[in-house]
Amino acid sequence: MSGIVRFLTRRRGGKGWHWTDIVTWAWLIGGLLVMFGPAVWLVGSSFKSPAALAEFPPTILPYVTQKVTVEGYDKPLDLYEATLEDGSTAVLAEVRRIGVVSQMVDPKDPGEIVKVNIAKRTPVREMSFATDNYTEPFTHFDFVRYLWNSVFVTVTATLITLVVNSMAAFALSKYEFRGRTMAMLLILATLMVPLSVIMVPLYSIVSALGLFNNLWGVILPTVATPTGVFILRQYMLTIPDELVDAARMDKASEWQIYWRIILPLTAPALAVLAIFSVVWRWNDFLWPLIVLSRKELYTLQVGLSIYSGELNVQWHFILAMTVVTMIPVVLVFIFLQRFITTGIAGTGLK
């Protein structure tokens, strides 16, 4: 144990604390709180009941006021710990509240009504996870639809991206033809044309193709990523051309060379692109927002933003749905974090 502490607080040259050590640790601990804190707070809040969410100051853990069913009353009543006039305290159930006076009964002896000033009572609370926040959107809202739409868009777009980009990268790395440099430059030049610059005409083209309010209208414009072609091509350039020649001597067709020789050997780069594509497509927002105007077609991101923009925000559902939306990305983060960070450091791609 002390070994761990010593390891974690290892300092410059093992000498005393230098001011830079203090800054370092303050920054790291602060970073830990600022980076993870909000997400943790969100997850914690997502288990609170609507009443608990409206409270200020909020509690850290989800609490609800205990309720009891009392004879003679239809609905369960809230339990309070009340200070009575004689100074003693008792656990009473609130029947109704009139101004600053609360009418209460003893749950065991519900005959007699006791009047207590509301300042003299505190709710009896217990910890409770409002799992309804999660289950209800799945049954009452289109949430399942959104989830399905997002999964469909993400998976389809990623598969098409992998196929289309790797085919282009294959052509650009293993064939000599006139205009090859031209094609490569053209692809790289499209990096300079982000969605925000062409959204108006792109919308008209997608509409003209009949893809407005269609998930394919979300998918198709995103699949020919210049970054994808670029990293795959760079990787394929490291595969010796002699392998292609050898396969040709082995009577392989060009298509076979592509999928039996080049694709398996490009697997590491394909994996990187697949991960990025999944994250990109899962997170896409502006374009789906433009193309999809029918509720049942919304992706998670669009659905969430529309719900959260409503006048009467149902935060308990929004928070829970946000957590669900985070899950795939958090899984990617947990399992592939090292892979991604080295990938970014190596290629500078995002």
Binding site: E242, D245, A246, R248, D250, Q256
Partner: protein
């Protein structure tokens, strides 16, 4: 089966002419070796025969049929690459099977062929390994195996031994020769190494800068090089070249004055006054004084045990002598060289 003919074949990459007008006929079952300095177009020529590159002009025929437009896959040839080009993601067995599967051959026949080739090349133990798990020599066998299972009309080998160490190269060379004897298939073999060329070839094709300099059996080339380039290229150590002028030319006898002043008598040469280059192989020069011997000053002595390599200065021209046995000589000493018994080649 395996008769290959090249007629006026030319190849250029863009504006650069790499192969100029090559004519060559290779008989069925022949072992032909292409040699030449780096960049002279050996690989390009081989790749054109394979069908991996198209000739810019000229005709290429296999067994009498012009195959200029026939793609590599349909020429019935097999190639062994310098880097072996084994598919790294496939096991040895899959590497051998890949080409056969592409011809839709029945599975049991594929298995039989692989078994046969594996036995012949002694690679049975590694059939389930990936190429990355093999040593250089083992990979090289697999590369040859991949060609053998195809039963091609001709084998094309591009410097297949150049990635092996000297000892392994020697033993594999012998195996290749045995393999050729056994398969009796046409083989075209590219190499830098003239020992490989001399030992393996039925005929050697010497290339320089995209042109064929000479075609002939190894001994032909050694004994009767067509020009100075071939003479210098074939034989190790290289032939000595001595510059000189014909002083007197008589019938059957002439005198050449070497640059530096010493004189040499030869059976016959060209016209008097002509500048000539004499070629003489280091092994053919003998040590010892005679009335026609030349004197030279030793600059370096390399004692190899069985023979001694002497580097000497012959009045300003470098000369190399390989003398059998061991000699107690030191740099700076004068030696006498006799060319009386040496075949002397004359080049203009």
């Amino acid at each position: 089966m395996g008769h290959i003919k090249l007629t006026n074949v030319k190849k250029s990459f863009g504006a650069v002419d790499v192969i100029h007008d090559v004519n060559l006929e290779i008989e069925d079952g022949e072992f032909v070796v292409f040699v030449g300095p780096s960049g002279c177009g050996k690989s390009t020529l081989l790749r054109m025969i394979a069908g991996l590159d198209r000739p810019t002009s000229g005709d290429l025929a296999i067994d009498g049929k012009v195959v200029n437009t026939v793609p590599a896959a349909d020429r019935g040839l097999a190639m062994v690459f310098q880097s072996y080009a084994l598919y790294p993601h496939m096991s040895v067995r899959q590497n051998l099977a890949f080409g056969l599967e592409n011809t839709r051959m029945p599975k049991d026949e594929i298995a039989a062929r692989i078994a046969e080739a594996a036995r012949m090349l002694e690679i049975e133990a590694y059939l389930d390994r990936r190429p990355g798990q093999l040593s250089g020599g083992q990979r090289q066998r697999v590369a040859i195996g991949r060609a053998i299972v195809r039963r091609p009309v001709a084998f094309l080998l591009d410097e297949p031994l150049s990635n092996l160490d000297a000892e392994l190269r020697g033993s594999t060379r012998a195996e290749l020769a045995a393999l050729h004897a056994r398969l009796a298939a046409t083989m075209i073999y590219v190499t830098h190494d003239q020992v490989e060329a001399m030992t393996l070839a039925d005929r050697i094709v010497v290339l320089r800068a995209g042109r064929i300099e000479q075609v002939g059996t190894p001994l032909d080339l050694y004994n009767r090089p067509a020009n100075r380039f071939v003479a210098g290229f074939i034989g190790s150590p290289h032939m000595n070249f001595l510059e000189g002028t014909v002083e007197a030319a008589g019938p059957g006898r002439s005198v050449v004055a070497l640059a530096g002043g010493q004189k040499l008598e030869l059976p016959s040469t060209g016209m008097a006054g002509a500048r000539v280059t004499l070629g003489v192989r280091p092994h053919h020069i003998t040590l010892g004084r005679s009335e026609s011997s030349l004197s030279a000053k030793l600059t370096l002595v390399e004692a190899l045990g069985a023979e001694t390599v002497l580097h000497a200065d012959l009045s300003g021209q470098k000369i190399l002598v390989v003398a059998p046995g061991q000699h107690d000589l030191a740099p700076g000493e004068s030696i006498d060289l006799s060319l009386a018994a040496a075949p002397i080649h004359l080049f203009d």
